[in-house]
Amino acid sequence: MSERKTRLTVTIDPHLAAYAERLVEAGKASSVSAVVNDALSERIERDRRIAKRWKEITSQADMARVERMIAHAEAQAAQLPVQYRFR
């Protein structure tokens, strides 16, 4: 990314900090910040991939069937004692 970096103060587990520093010492990362940046980028990519897969699957649903299933569940919930229905 070419945009300007944002300075951020974070607290991480000691073993993760040590791992990031070892990557820098071994020449596998330019800085601890780069390691954190890469980890967050991978997290974003993973989240997007998961959201996309959920969307692909749920877009194929028979919504009439799903609505019947939800109505069936809600009808059972409506019969429960009040403390099991609302907070």
Partner: protein, 144 residues
């Protein structure tokens, strides 16, 4: 009650069978869960039930579909927070003879006073009276 005085729907505790269906990419179940979440129904997923689903379906795709549940807005996981909860789980296992993941579902439902969302109502009905308070069940089915 919510801050504006409206009643908040009670969370439903999702059992391992439902999560297994998610791990197997069951279109109807995944869409139902997604729709319930979108409509404001809180769902609670005991972490041991996720373990059971992951054991049933050992693929990267299944793992990611299960992880996707955590990204829903009204859905949260229930972990074993401390020794007290771990000991309580052991007590539920001893009293119900359920598998640990099912016992975790029962323990969370019992402690939180919430119904269990399941595909197998019969299994839960057999254990509905095992604890001091009855377990309440919401069975997923298409009445046609």
């Amino acid at each position: 009650m919510s801050e504006d005085g409206g009643a908040i729907p009670t969370p439903w505790i999702v059992d391992a069978g439902v999560l297994i269906a998610v791990a197997r990419a069951d279109t109807a179940i995944m869409t139902m869960i997604q729709e319930l979440d979108a409509r404001g129904r809180p769902l609670v997923i005991p972490v041991l039930a996720i373990t059971a689903a992951s054991l049933d379906m050992r693929t990267d795709e299944a793992s990611e579909l299960l992880e996707g549940l955590e990204r829903l807005g009204n859905t949260q996981t229930a972990s074993l927070r401390d020794a007290e909860q771990a000991v309580n789980l052991a007590s539920v296992i001893a009293r119900t003879r359920l598998d640990p993941w099912d016992a975790h579902v029962a323990a969370v439902a019992d402690a939180a006073v919430c119904p269990i969302l399941t595909l197998d109502g019969e299994k839960w009905r057999q254990h509905a009276g095992d604890l001091d308070e009855p377990l309440h069940i919401i069975e997923i089915a298409d009445p046609g």
